[in-house]
């Protein structure tokens, strides 16, 4: 591998890593606060992609402008899902929780197939084919925009969690929900908001991905698997872990594609996944919990 290819893979890995990080931050938030492994997370992303696709196609909207619609829309969608589907099973055994989100995953993917058909769709914008060049490295402008937005969103979310009262309440529920309830935090409300934010993250990632990737009803499965890897890598429920994990997996996939082949890049991801599960199930940055 020469330097040219190395830098190309590095750039592409970092840019894609930003997207993975945004998806994973939403997933890890749901996991940290509600202790729910959400298999439907990728479907929120897929639906976000479709929403952007239709807004662009029908109303000729700029794909990045659609974010002002997808984010609030999916926040409320998440709140509703949490209120009616997730809340009743919060105290249920782990397998029931997994199965419910799995049911939601199957339902939403096939709902999309029923509504939009099984074929792939993509959008073209003025900047779709605009290629930026730095030195010998080329990349699509849409990838850079995606990366910048993803970083803005994760940073904003981080500040929100650190600085605002609501953010602190969410973190309190993540650490110890019973204690949070005792000090007067409305835990049910926090759960709904956390799930809403997690859903909105996935949908925002979908909107950002739409100018780059094709969408079909089953694209969510690929993303949710990657997001699981990132979340486990960073430590379940760990915000910074998900962010760093996103970049690690982004880089692992782009270098995997160069060194092995494009179709084998996921093998790298899953191998990392299994190794992390076996050797460090608390994640790279996790502390051992009793």
């Amino acid at each position: 591998m020469n330097w040219e290819i190395f830098f190309q893979a590095l750039t592409s890995g970092i840019l894609t890593g930003g997207l993975f990080a945004l998806v994973a931050v939403g997933l890890t938030m749901i996991l940290g606060v509600l202790k729910i492994i959400n298999f439907a997370h990728g479907e929120f992303l897929m639906l976000g992609m479709y929403m952007t696709y239709w807004l662009c196609t029908l109303f000729n909207m700029d794909p990045y402008l659609t974010l002002i619609i997808t984010i609030p829309a999916f926040f409320f969608f998440g709140v509703i899902i949490q209120r009616w589907l997730i809340n009743p099973i919060l105290d249920a055994p782990m397998e029931i929780q997994i199965l419910l989100t799995l049911g939601l995953f199957i339902f939403l993917a096939n709902l999309a197939q029923l509504l939009f058909g099984p074929h792939v769709r993509s959008i073209e914008t003025a900047y779709t084919f605009k290629i930026l060049t730095i030195g010998s490295v080329n990349f699509a402008s849409t990838r850079l925009i995606m990366f910048i937005f993803a970083i803005i969103f994760t940073t904003a979310l981080y500040i929100f969690l650190k600085k605002t009262d609501l953010g602190k309440a969410i973190r309190a529920c993540s650490e110890e929900s019973y204690g949070a309830m005792l000090v007067g935090i409305n835990v049910k409300r926090v759960y709904m908001i956390a799930f809403g934010i997690g859903t909105a993250c996935a949908a925002a990632a979908g909107s950002l991905a739409m100018p780059i990737y094709y969408v079909n009803p089953h694209i969510g499965a690929t993303f949710v698997m990657t997001a699981f890897v990132v979340v486990v890598l960073g430590g379940m429920g760990n915000f910074m872990g998900a962010l760093v994990g996103g970049f690690i997996i982004g880089l692992a996939e782009s270098f995997g594609a160069v060194i092995l082949s494009a179709s084998l890049k996921q093998l790298v991801t899953f191998t990392i996944f299994v190794l992390i599960l076996l050797l460090r199930p608390t994640g790279l940055f996790g502390t051992k919990r009793s």
Partner: protein, 320 residues
């Protein structure tokens, strides 16, 4: 004593006898649906050993299914080895991989969701590997060579032989689980499910028995893979190793009742015709039959989380 036992199980014996003669009175489409009911009940029963009784929730039984399908098919394709023999080789391959997965998972103490995710990842690793192995047919898969009506090569004219094979598979898996349920190993499995630490305290080597459960489940699941390959005469990595295979397998037990003997069978009798009929009416690409699966799964989780069979039994015993 025997008479009493016969009386008590009269309804089951009656159903058994009806199913035994049924294929001669129904058309090929209904035969196909019945074959699928038995086939999924069988696979789900195999899953039930590991996940229902022992409580180790697997999202990756497709790994063992795919290994069974590929081993017998590759041996048949290249060496003309009868799938009747190939399926035992496949079962031993799946057993080896199953014991390996069980060993590494439980050696490192994987539990609950972590084990579930790991099994999913193992199946995905196998799927991607087979997709990238041209010797194994790669993404194009393997077309099983047609030999006409050749019972010795697991190929038949018509569906009736497949009906009986799948029926025997379902019945024998249920008998196996029945025997396990009443043996020492079965009690260990259930003890591990209920409280692993207590089981360990009482001297059960939980890790060993969890590995055994994975092995048994893997070994039996592989036969289903060979059956699938010979029934459809075509396999590819997504059809055999894909996550939807694992989901399809476990859904039956979940709907029917996890960790019960009748659960996988009842679940399959409910879910399989529903899936096949909606697929027939609305077409396979409409997604409606899968939507129905998803909706049923959500409803079962919300309203009868222990499955249909325990739910009804509970209602029934309450009213009487």
């Amino acid at each position: 004593m025997l008479q009493e036992a016969v009386k008590r199980h009269l309804i089951w014996i009656a159903i058994f006898l009806i199913l035994l003669i049924l294929p001669f009175f129904i058309g090929t489409y209904l035969q196909h649906i019945m074959i699928f009911i038995f086939f999924y009940a069988y696979l789900s029963q195999c899953w039930n050993i590991l996940s229902g009784y022992t409580g180790q929730f697997s999202l990756g039984n497709a790994a063992f299914f795919g290994l069974g399908a590929y081993t017998s098919s590759v041996l048949f394709y290249y060496f003309n080895l009868s799938p009747w023999i190939g399926m035992f080789i496949g079962a031993f391959v799946a057993l080896a991989i199953g014991l390996f997965i069980g060993y590494v998972s439980f050696h490192f103490g994987l539990k609950e969701a972590f084990f579930a995710l790991a099994t999913l990842a193992f199946a995905e690793i196998l799927r991607i590997m087979f997709l990238n192995m041209p010797v194994m047919g790669g993404a194009q898969g393997i077309l099983i060579p047609l030999k006409g009506d050749a019972p010795l090569l697991f190929q038949f004219d018509g569906k009736i032989p497949f009906y009986y094979i799948s029926f025997i598979m379902m019945v024998s898996s249920t008998i196996i689980v029945y025997i396990i349920e009443r043996s020492k190993i079965g009690y260990y499995f259930k003890a591990i499910h209920q409280n692993e630490e207590s089981a360990e305290a009482l001297g059960v080597n939980a890790r060993k028995y969890k590995i055994y459960a994975t092995g048994i489940s893997a070994f039996l699941t592989a036969f289903g893979g060979t059956f699938y390959a010979q029934y459809f005469m075509y396999i590819d990595p997504n059809l055999t190793f894909g996550p939807s295979v694992s989901f399809d397998i476990m859904l039956r037990s979940i709907i029917g009742g996890v960790g019960t003997l009748a659960g996988p069978i009842i679940g399959s009798f409910i879910l399989t015709p529903l899936g096949e009929i909606t697929r027939e009416i609305f077409g396979a690409t409409s997604g409606i039959h899968m939507m129905a699966y998803g909706a049923i799964l959500i409803l079962v989780c919300l309203f009868m989380p222990r499955g249909v069979y325990p739910w009804f039994r509970q209602r029934f015993s309450k009213s009487s």
